[in-house]
Symmetry: C2
Subunit: 268 residues, 2 copies
């Protein structure tokens, strides 16, 4: 009954969200193939695919053919890339779709009231996973936050909200792992983080200044589901020069109450 693979010796990424990368099952190979496509690796050749996955060229060829037939992979003059059907199926995942559909109108309200950017995120592993993002009209240059992007839990406002109001177990996991420094102002001392979270629990919200990206700050609140457990977090991000924390907190609380009502009717 001991799942969660025993291979904890891993350099590249300190504790990834889903363990067990090596497995010579067919599914293991398929997994490797689909996951070597990075966020910006548009296309990969067959040889490149074989090299990165560590699989035999013949195996990659056979499996890729089948994946193309399914639509999970596409072929563009000899190169492979992720296929449209992957997007299609991905849009069906209920946890994401329900949260998104409920939150979207409220996020638009938030953005219209603040002219800044709103984020919706859930915890996945030791990171936040952004489910949606609505940008304000203020032209934002090269903001790297993107939908389905990830960031550490301990440096983002949404992450801290999920930690402060989420399960004890998750917090313990974060505390035992080393806290990576994302910017010079990122909280990397466990004690300090604990203080921040305690303050958050008292205030009901989290504010973070330049801990994720220099020049920007965020305010976040937790969103609770029908059972009362925290299921997601909602945030407003703004340049520090324009930061109006009190206003963001007021608006977020307003939106949060509406969201709680909507979520209590749903099964998440």
């Amino acid at each position: 009954m001991e799942a969660t693979a025993p291979n904890c010796l891993f350099q590249p990424d300190p504790r990834e969200p889903h363990p067990a990368p090596d497995s010579n099952s067919v599914l293991g190979k398929v997994r490797r193939i689909l996951e070597v496509f990075g966020l910006d690796d548009e296309t990969l050749s067959l040889s490149e695919l074989a090299r990165r996955t560590g699989l035999a060229k013949a195996s990659v060829h056979r499996l890729s053919q089948e994946l193309v037939q399914w639509g999970l992979l596409e072929r563009r003059n000899g190169e492979y890339r992720l296929g449209m059907r992957l997007f299609e199926i991905g849009q069906r995942v209920p946890r994401q779709r329900i949260l998104r559909d409920l939150a979207r109108p409220l996020m638009i309200d938030l953005v219209q009231a603040t002219h800044e950017t709103a984020h919706l995120a859930v915890a996945d592993g030791l990171e936040v996973l952004y489910l949606d993002k609505v940008s304000g009209e203020h032209a934002q240059i090269s903001r790297p936050s993107r939908v389905a992007g990830r960031m550490p839990l301990h440096c983002t406002a949404t992450g801290k909200a999920l930690l402060a109001f989420g399960s004890r177990h998750l917090l313990d996991e974060v505390m035992t792992a080393p806290l990576t420094r994302v910017t010079p102002r990122t909280t990397v001392a466990p004690g300090l983080l604990a203080q921040e979270l305690q303050k958050a629990r008292e205030q009901g919200f989290v504010a973070e200044f330049e801990q994720t990206r220099i020049g920007y700050m965020s305010v976040a609140i937790p969103l609770t589901g029908a059972t009362g457990a925290v299921v997601a977090a909602l945030s407003v991000t703004a340049p520090t020069t324009r930061a109006k924390v009190d206003r963001y907190v007021g608006l977020l609380n307003l939106v949060g109450r509406r969201m709680t009502k909507l979520l209590s009717a749903q099964e998440i």
Copy 2:
């Protein structure tokens, strides 16, 4: 060299976008498992999964376990549902991401100018696949169009645009298959459809009235990529009572020109 499976005898759906459903390979089984989750089937039990896929219970059990470990499936008190990682990988598919990222700001402009709903779609099989949707503030009740949803090519404005300006091969395929009637006003006569498409080619846009949904009309234009080929379509949908076709056409053409410039710099 004869790919594309020889099993053309299929009742359930007249020509589905991706052929070859039966295959006793591991990937074939996984495909069945992931695709029996309908648009609204939140969760399925193991037995239900085995029943719908036609696979042995033990096989479903084993594969599902591996899928849960990967994150493509999630388990909620005994029931299975599509997992978050599916959403995450799906957001990476380049064709969708590039089109969406480029079109999103322009779609927001469109919506702010019209207060109606904008759609971005591509052709997939004999259907349009909606990549994105931006709704106007006018409260729209129970509009079933959703992101990653599908509709026949021949009844929607976006679909007709993709047919009129797309590849000859695609048009032939649509013409040979029977044209399903979605509403009483749907064009089901091939000759009439051909006329509509010819008119569209002359005018540079497509308008459709209540052919997809009673009470609503749409105007669409094609979007051309770097090579000059049509890669997607953009539309405005409004209740027939508020329809201002000329205005929508003007705005769409404006946006279309900007989009063409953006797309010509990208590789789609």
